[in-house]
Amino acid sequence: MTEPVLLCATDARGVATVTFNRPQVNNAYNADVILGLIEIFGGLATDEAVRLVVLRGNGRHFQAGADLKWLREVSTLTPEENLEVSRNTTNAARGLNEFPKPTIALVHGGCFGGGTGIVAGCDIVIASEDAIFSITEARWGVMAGPIFPQLNAAIGEHNVRRYSLTCERFGAARAREMGLVDEVCAPGGLDATAAPIIDAILAGGPNALRETKRLITDIGKLAVSDALAEKLAQQHARKRQTDEAEEGLKSFVEKRNPNWYPGRG
């Protein structure tokens, strides 16, 4: 029997932990992970016993973004099937961002591409000093559209303009400076750093928390409308079926530079 790609467990206090569980591919996401996230968060939202959700990764990394081998297969699907994948991706990001209870991401190691959108969609982000972030999509000739609303809200358009255009890597300290990360701790210190924050949330009224989060979402205009979601999904899907994306994803598999890279000046 194969391991589930996501683990979910809730403790006696009502703290649910969702764990990315594809360590052999650095927790890269594929269709199973996306649909699993939608299903699990849908269930946690209505489970009265759950007070808050912690999101983390098994293995050496939090989440390496999309599984590029899988993405390459997706790009060869029919346009309609390809669009459906982008719709699911967009909805998974939306569902997390608009999840009605507090969410905490515990980040260690790599957090790339869609992984940055996942943390941007959480309420509180704790990263260990070894965490490395990058909005990598453009590097592979694809785009990060579905996570831009969350990234803009978390780090501001100005930072998104830099990091989504350069795909540069940045560390936990820089991530905290920009507001993507709330707390930075030594490697191995994620649980200890999260403990008082979790305790603080459990001291808040569950209904008050739900109303408060909804209000922040409304005031900050953090929710993505159906119309915007559809637009993001369509752009995302279309870009994946261009020659440029084909070359970018192929360059990944072949471990070479894409043909648009002129080399260092």
Binding site: P102, A153, G179, A200, G204, G205, I216, I219
Partner: protein
């Protein structure tokens, strides 16, 4: 004659100082204080000769937020009275936020809940280094409602998602990092730090300062009457819930609310 709840002084340069004067209850806000603030802000808004407004407080704390005795009275109100009361508070925040001249919060001690609301409605915030901050409403089963547009405006959705839901206390340095404060200074340097900023403002053309302030507000999106209505409705609704009743009862009975006991935290 009883001490005035709010003191207003205007010096010969046109620098007004509005001082919260209920040190014995940590400058907690009740209906009388709200009325006094409204009168003070209305008076200042109409004066052409006032070039800057300092919002200050006497005693150990800047403001502990809503006076919970008042909250208990409010709990007995009908839904309509409850909403009217909330709207009056929303209007006072709006008056402070839209004063035509620059406003400086001079924070000599801690600010919680609605006290943070007063800070975020000012243009510039300077605090003594020992001041602590927290957005505590959810501890009592309430939500930070009327202050939320200004809170999100000042600290952004990312920090708001954390601190509105955890109600954690944070220090002045963290407050500065997230944008709640502009300057943090030693307690004995607070007067001089505020005076430096006032000095800079007095060098600038009054009408262009006012036009700049109005433009910034329009650019980021003004807090509208619809938003005040919405937030007032939300607080009125939550005040009447069982959870809020339990939160208030626990506070006055000096015990943990049921949701903490249930969580075992």
């Amino acid at each position: 004659m009883a001490e005035e709840l709010v003191l207003t002084e205007i010096d010969k340069r046109g620098v007004a100082t509005v001082t919260l004067n209920r040190a014995e209850v940590h400058n907690a806000l009740n209906d009388a204080v709200v009325d006094a603030l409204r009168a003070a802000f209305d008076g200042l808004a109409a004066r052409q000769d006032v070039r800057a407004v300092i919002l200050a407080a006497r005693g150990k704390s800047f403001s502990a937020g809503a006076d919970l005795k008042w909250m208990r009275q409010v709990a007995e109100f009908s839904p309509a009275e409850n909403k009217a009361d909330a709207l009056r508070i929303a209007e006072v925040f709006d008056k402070l936020n839209t004063l035509p001249m620059p406003t400086i919060a001079k924070i000599q001690g801690s600010a919680f809940a609605g006290g943070v609301g007063l800070v975020v409605c000012c243009d510039i915030a300077v605090a003594a280094e020992h001041a602590q901050f927290a957005i505590t409403e959810v501890r009592l089963g309430l939500l930070p409602a009327m202050i939320s547009p200004y809170v999100v405006g000042a600290i952004g959705p990312s920090a708001a998602r954390r601190y509105c839901q955890t109600a954690e206390r944070f220090d002045a340095q963290e407050a500065k990092r997230i944008g709640l404060l502009h300057e943090v200074v030693a307690a004995d340097a607070l007067d001089a730090a505020v005076e430096d900023i006032v000095g800079s403002i007095l060098k600038n053309a009054p009408a262009s300062v006012a036009a700049s302030k109005a433009l910034i507000r329009e650019t980021v999106g003004p807090v509208t009457e619809a938003m005040r209505e919405d937030t007032a409705s939300r607080i009125a609704a939550i005040r009447a819930t069982d959870e809020a009743k339990e939160g208030r009862a626990a506070f006055f009975e000096k015990r943990k609310p049921a949701w903490v006991a249930a969580g075992g935290a």
